[in-house]
């Protein structure tokens, strides 16, 4: 929700997002995505273990599927949920202006300022309003998601989707891209969950939609 606040002379309108409520569709797609993405990553780790790209494997207890066939079954079942849900979210986010409102503008000066503030734990946090460091992280993960899906399609169907596979540098490179996208998304999740632990109120807002009157509920993290 955008509230326009004018200074007492009524001159320059300052668009300000004051404790925006989270639309129901955003909350639903967030939790569906959390489930689908968890399935994809944990089953993907088990698939990776069948033929590791790097000299390490994921601990079996952290994986989903039990064995390769089970992991593949999870992966190729959850992908439908992930993609359908992701498309719904993106369609809503793009056409309603939600993404533009919450993630833009993103300026370099403001980013640097917020980044320094975040590192010194002085960054203010208001539920529903993203600082520029958050904005950047969300934009990156919104690009990593489609990258993971497209590289996944490229290695799932290197013949039927051969132009896509070629575009991604061939089968082996596409496999690497798929891994890197996963690693980026996993890194995002680690930061995301850390911030939720630091500011637990955000978890509530992703469930209930958040309060409209939370100007006072600023936190410093």
């Amino acid at each position: 929700m955008v509230t326009t606040i004018r200074d007492n002379k009524g001159a320059l309108p300052i668009a300000k997002q004051a404790g925006a409520t989270r639309p129901l569709i955003v909350r639903i797609t967030h939790w569906v995505n959390a489930f689908a993405m968890t399935c994809m990553i944990l089953s993907g780790w088990r698939i990776y273990n069948a033929s590791p790209l790097f000299p390490f494997t994921f601990p079996p207890w952290a994986t989903l599927g039990g064995w390769l066939a089970g992991a593949l079954a999870w992966h190729f079942a959850a992908m439908w949920l992930l993609v359908a849900n992701g498309l719904l979210y993106l369609a809503y986010g793009l056409f309603s202006g939600y993404l533009r409102r919450t993630l833009l503008p993103l300026t370099r000066d403001q980013l640097w300022q917020d980044f320094r503030a975040a590192l010194t734990l002085r960054l203010k946090h208001r539920v529903g309003v993203y600082n520029t460091v958050q904005r950047l992280l969300y934009i990156v993960v919104l690009l990593l998601g489609p990258t993971a899906v497209l590289s996944g399609l490229a290695i799932w169907k290197p013949v039927q989707f051969s132009p896509l596979t070629t575009l991604l540098g061939g089968y082996d490179t596409a496999r690497l891209v798929h891994f890197v996208a996963m690693a980026g998304i996993t890194g995002f999740i680690v930061i995301h969950l850390t911030l939720v632990i630091l500011v637990p109120r955000t978890l509530l807002s992703m469930i209930t939609g958040g309060s409209r009157q939370n100007h006072a509920t600023e936190a410093r993290i």
Binding site: A62, L72, K157, S162
Partner: protein, 252 residues
Amino acid sequence: MSARTIRNPDLTDQRPELVRLERRLLLRHGLSLGALSLLTGCNLHDGDAVDRVLWAMSRWNDRVQAALFNPNRLAPTYPESAITDPFPFNAYYSEAEIRTVDTAAWRLELSGLIADKRPWSLEQLRALPQVSQITRHVCVEGWSAIGKWRGVPFRTFLERVGADTSARYVGFRCFDNYSTSIDMATAMHPQTILALDYRDAPLPPKYGSPVKLRVPTKLGFKNPKYLAAVFVTNDYPGGYWEDQGYNWFSGS
């Protein structure tokens, strides 16, 4: 894409298999306890319900892949210099357990919806037209390797023996007790061949001597080595890995 003219694998055919297999197969080896409780908040007794959903989704994916399959789209081919050397051996057993046959006495048995069921010798297969391909073999495990195979276009062979090419499935039995099956559309694909040679020499035991089916539009485990019998059928035949929960269509 002319997928609609090709009969997709039909779930009704597979229902008896489904009922028989769903309980014991997909997650027979078990979900990791942590992952299951994390995701479903349930105990392991619910594994059966999860299995059923996964099995149904795998059948859905069979249909989607059959629809995506373009009978005219060729798998990418590569120059000789791209061939992976050595090409890896892979089977459900180790390389030390490879089985061999007397290639002179070997015959390819035919059964099912085939007009002329007389068995074929290697010599007879060599007398048919041969084609060569350098294509990528993609394993279900994720690795891939490029190899060169030469042999009889499988379509030529099926037409020669009077196979009912309107049937749904072609099944394969191997003398190493492996088995698999493919859809008729894939069987008729121009790059699906009965491979007799690997890199311009008769197929060595390691790569499936005397005959393997090379299908560059499917994952490696749908490329049976050590062929013993071919059959054409409308009844879902399954296969060694497919019966254990691997996706049946497994197209590339």
